[in-house]
Amino acid sequence: MKSDFLKGIRDGIPICLGYLSVSFGFGILAVSLGLSILSAVGISLTNLTSAGQVAGVGIIAAGGSLVEMVLTQLVINIRYSLMGISLSQKLDGSFNTMHRMLASFGITDEIFAVAVSQKSVSPYYMYGLTVISALGWVSGTFLGAAAGNILPASVSGAMGIVLYGMFLAIIIPPAKKEKGVLAAVLIAAVLSTVFEYVFKSVSGGFAIIICSVLAAAFCAVFFPVPDEKEDET
């Protein structure tokens, strides 16, 4: 139990360091959109997700509706449902309902990737991974939000690209390997650009939903995924 927790901490250190620098960018972004440091940290502490938070603070800043917020989070974060299903196959016997409800909070792309590569996963291993990763995510957000006001504009401006750089690093390698992913990426990018410049009245959150649902549905039909593929995200 204790050793599982410590192993989780150890395995999570690279995630922690990665999160620290990426969430620094989120902190700067949130403050630049007019959120307080406390709000930015509160969002990171309760959400623990990059893309959903970036879209979320965009909606908050634009004064979007709660319906838009719910739908946007649903579409952006629905991948966690699939990861949860996948990971649930690897849980050991001590994973009762209570542990499942607690540990599910820590399902992120990176934590999932580390956990699912284990032979079996115990609750305390998940807690170790989650605690160390969240520590990086929340403290990075705080530092970014606090420094965003102090740093010269040239630095905080340049940090604004960090999260998008990470997103590109997630989508480009699989797009290189698989036609279906490449199609999904290109279709979504083209549609999103069309929304930005042509259908300007559609708010950002809804535009992301429409673009990604259309692109993913198209690819699901024309580039069917083989059986085991659903575990990799």
């Binding site: 938070q53 399902i107 401006g157 604004g160 690093a169 999904a184 990604s212 692109a215």
Partner: protein
């Protein structure tokens, strides 16, 4: 609207998305369409969020463009996420010093 409500809704939805399937689901999804849809949706979402927003991300189109090019090239060669992310930012910063 109070920001607390936004954050609560955001966090609540995100948690339920994680918690419900992880806690209740014990079988595999059979529908090929739904499986494919769920497989492609993260890539489509990230792409739609990144393009064209990345071109405005630094507040300057020229430095954003340089950062984007660096990120695309490094990502193409499969460098770690954090390297790609920070190199894009560093490139934008350094280029910004000269314009």
């Amino acid at each position: 609207m109070s920001i607390i409500i936004y954050i609560a809704v955001m966090a609540g939805v995100t948690y339920l998305i994680r918690m419900i399937p992880f806690t209740l689901f014990r079988k595999k999804i059979k529908s090929p369409f739904f499986r494919g849809f769920l497989y492609y949706i993260p890539y489509a979402v990230l792409s739609a969020m990144t393009i064209p927003a990345i071109f405005y991300s630094t507040g300057n189109t020229a430095t954003s463009l340089i950062g984007t090019v660096v990120a695309v090239v490094l990502a193409y060669f499969k460098l770690p996420l954090i390297v790609v992310a920070l190199a894009a930012s560093a490139a934008a910063f350094i280029f910004g010093l000269f314009i």
